[in-house]
């Protein structure tokens, strides 16, 4: 096996995959590839160490997080109220739409019967004739 082929596998070999017999044989005699594997293992070990290194959060963040139940409960209360009374809200909305529709229809009819419009459309003259 050539170094180039083995080196391409090394980032995965350093953690996830098990080397095949051919790779193991190559690693057994190639110092460069051994070093490469060791380098990746150390890199991964360093990355794993980072987890324990917590970064200090900005001041005030903890207070905002602690306050979440108060804020969330208000929003959740409103949401659950709307959900519980969905039928009433739907009925109310439908009634409002119906009233608005009726009002629009009445307005349209009254506009249609106005003397000015009758003159414009000629309906008045026809009626008097």
């Amino acid at each position: 096996m050539r170094c180039a082929e083995v080196k391409e596998m090394i980032p995965a070999l350093a953690r996830e995959s098990q080397p095949s017999l051919a790779v193991r044989r190559h690693l057994g005699k190639c110092r460069g590839c051994q070093q490469e594997l060791e380098t990746y293992r150390n890199l991964i070990a360093s990355l794993q160490t980072l987890e324990a290194r917590a970064v200090e959060p900005p001041p005030g963040l903890a207070a905002q997080l602690i306050a979440i139940p108060r804020g969330a409960s208000t929003v959740d209360h409103l949401r659950s109220h709307v959900t519980r009374n969905r039928a009433a809200y739907a009925g109310g909305t439908a009634a409002a739409v119906a009233v608005a529709g009726a009002a629009a229809a009445l307005l349209w009819r009254s506009r249609d019967r106005s003397p000015q419009r009758q003159r414009r459309t000629g309906k008045g003259r026809l009626a008097t004739a």
């Binding site: 180039a4 995965a12 953690r15 460069g32 794993q48 987890e51 903890a62 997080l65 139940p69």
Partner: protein, 197 residues
């Protein structure tokens, strides 16, 4: 997924007991405050490592805790709370990363340029067997393109399985493996000036 390690005598996993979580589930705000105190540094750190920007990380942390508060009822204690919380936080950070992606189309080019300017640690045979300075690793991680960094942070820093990484990033497991593989290679190139090739 790996458990948070002890950063001292007060590791989050030791502070977050099942009783504390149960009290939070019942709406106990004092218990919630203790839970936040015990975990928020680690959660913020995870978000920051994925997002790089402290403001975005703080927002993602808030999103994560809000989601956690609402979903606490679904936490059955099969995994440790901190493990569950890490998943919620990773999800929030990755959603944020996706949201800001459109604004940062040119980021990859800029990163490539910055990578070439990163002062690398000395590259000798001796270094292959030595731990790299953690500060240098943190800095190099920041310079990785977003998609590689997120995969690498979840896999190698927080110990998620490839399957979990794939699910968090909404990609296939093969794609997750490719991202982790390439991320490691790029990171290694940044930290070691002379390749051993």
């Amino acid at each position: 997924m790996k458990r948070p390690k002890s950063g001292g005598s007060e590791a989050p996993r030791e502070l977050v007991t099942s009783e504390l979580v149960e009290a939070c589930k019942k709406g106990d705000e004092v218990a919630w405050a203790r839970l936040v105190e015990a975990t928020h540094r680690e959660v913020y750190s995870l978000c920051l490592r994925i997002l790089r920007d402290p403001h975005d990380a703080a927002e993602a942390t808030q999103d994560a805790y809000l989601k956690a508060w609402r979903a606490l009822g679904s936490f059955r204690g099969e995994a440790m709370f901190t493990t569950w919380m890490y998943r919620v936080a990773a999800n929030a950070a990755i959603s944020k990363q996706r949201g800001r992606k459109r604004k940062r189309i040119h980021e990859v080019d800029a990163d490539e340029e910055m990578m070439s300017q990163l002062p690398s640690t000395a590259s000798t045979e001796a270094l292959a067997g030595a731990r790299i300075e953690l500060e240098a690793v943190e800095e190099a991680l920041k310079l990785l393109p977003d998609h590689y960094r997120a995969a690498l942070v979840l896999r190698d820093v927080y110990g998620m399985s490839m399957d979990e990484v794939a699910k968090e990033l909404k990609i296939t497991e093969t794609a997750a493996k490719v991202r982790v593989h390439r991320g490691r290679k790029k990171l290694k190139e940044m930290l070691y000036s002379d390749d051993t090739e």
